[in-house]
């Protein structure tokens, strides 16, 4: 029986048992990495967040692809990625200037029902795509739309004209109960 520590040393020809042992470590590493991710990474999902997640995954499994790569190397690389990722996030909630330098801004594609061609060209958004996105947001006609904003995540937020919106209780002067979410008092017994 080999010493288990040998599996974690640089090795040109790692045995199957060695790869199996390394896999256990990789998966545990991925589990802990995912625990310490920024919520943003999964929520907003900009292109960069996607690449960041992919890099973490590729680093975590690098010792499984090549026996010569050590976990110490990949853990150091992962720690460096986390350092920069958190530093940028930390700075951008503290400094408006820094945030505006590194974050993309939202772009207005339709204003008062008129397509802003200049912004469409800048963001490589063609009319077919705009109409398709509008149909998905249940705005089937440009006439119904007041504003369309391209958000940094690549999604569109669409505001319809008031004519095409359903009425709200205020329109009929119906008294409304207080809003908000209920509080859980008893959970599963």
């Amino acid at each position: 029986m080999n010493n288990i520590f040998e599996y974690f040393q640089s090795n040109d020809l790692l045995s199957n048992a060695g790869f199996a042992t390394r896999t256990v470590v990789s998966i545990i590493l991925i589990y802990f990495m995912s625990r310490f991710l920024l919520k943003r990474a999964a929520g907003q999902f900009t292109a960069f967040d996607f690449v960041f997640l992919w890099m973490l995954g590729a680093l975590a499994v690098a010792p499984l692809l090549d026996g010569k790569i050590l976990f110490t190397t990949t853990i150091l690389a992962i720690a460096t990625l986390y350092l920069w990722h958190f530093l940028i996030a930390w700075l951008s909630v503290r400094s408006h200037l820094f945030a505006s330098l590194i974050r993309r801004k939202s772009t207005l594609l339709v204003e008062k029902g008129i397509i802003n061609e200049n912004n469409m060209r800048k963001t490589f958004f063609n009319t077919d795509l705009l109409l398709a996105e509008m149909r998905l947001a249940e705005a089937h006609d440009l006439k119904e739309v007041d504003q369309v904003m391209l958000e940094p995540s690549g999604h569109l937020s669409i505001v319809k004209k008031s004519k095409h919106l359903p009425p709200t209780p205020v329109d009929f002067e119906i008294p409304v109960p207080p809003g908000g979410l209920p509080t859980v008092l008893i959970n599963n017994g």
Binding site: A47, M55, A77, W84, F124, A132, R135, E138
Partner: protein
């Protein structure tokens, strides 16, 4: 530190060299994805996703593999993202190349079987997608179209759609998105100038609500014309 092996690859990397390599690659990917803009949605999303995934792989293998060349990685990343940008521009300029027209799957409650076969969507998948879009009965569907990005857009018949304000003969109200007037205690002067509002008018409006400008976390001009404020929490 041996700079030649650091840039072009050598027998081993010490911890400091790994740290600097990772930092350089992280920021090169960071700026390249920013340059790409918000193009991960839409018709070319699969293409963009695969490009991003491939480049992430190039970057990581160069982070941990001492024999690989860092310079080559930076060149690969620059070339790949430039080419990807160029192809996105072609997609924008010549939409007919990639086929951006939607395909109709349901028309007036009738399933278009031949189109369904063309796009490899089964009847069960179609019904599941319709249910997710809150169309539980086929008779309610005026039209369902498969959009180029692979999602289903559903138009319900007017009878099964909610009442709109115009049907109720209600007057038009201003719609739109709120604009930011104060951000973290600072007045957005640029916006005020473009819409022709005065800063002391804003000050008075905030005072009427019983606050002063430095206390405000965010103040927005709502579409209805009123000002909504979010006050900073006391620390």
């Amino acid at each position: 530190m041996d700079w030649n092996s650091f840039w072009n690859g050598g027998s081993s990397l010490n911890p400091l060299e790994i740290f600097i390599r990772v930092t350089i690659l992280y920021f090169s990917i960071f700026f390249m994805t920013r340059l790409m803009g918000p193009r991960q949605v839409g018709i070319v999303s699969a293409f963009n996703f695969i490009t991003h995934a491939g480049m992430a792989h190039v970057a990581t293998s160069r982070m941990v593999n001492p024999e690989s060349s860092l310079v080559a990685a930076l060149i690969i990343i620059a070339v790949a993202y430039s080419l990807s940008l160029l192809l996105s521009w072609f997609d924008y300029k010549f939409p007919s190349w990639v086929g951006t027209s939607p395909i109709s799957l349901v028309k007036n409650g009738q399933i278009l079987q031949s189109n369904l076969k063309k796009v490899y969507v089964t009847m069960d998948d179609l019904l599941a997608q319709l249910r997710l879009k809150k169309a539980h009965n086929l008779s309610e569907v005026a039209s369902a179209m498969l959009e180029p990005m692979g999602e289903l857009s559903v138009v319900k018949t007017p009878e099964s759609s909610p009442v709109t304000r115009s049907m109720m003969k209600l007057p038009e109200i201003p719609s739109g998105m709120g604009a930011v007037l104060i951000y973290d205690g600072k007045v957005e002067r640029q916006y005020l100038n473009t819409v022709g509002l005065k800063e002391n008018w804003l000050e008075q409006e905030i005072e009427k609500k019983g606050f002063s400008i430095p206390q405000i976390l965010l103040a927005t001009l709502e579409s209805t014309g009123s000002i909504h404020v979010s006050v900073k929490s006391h620390e």
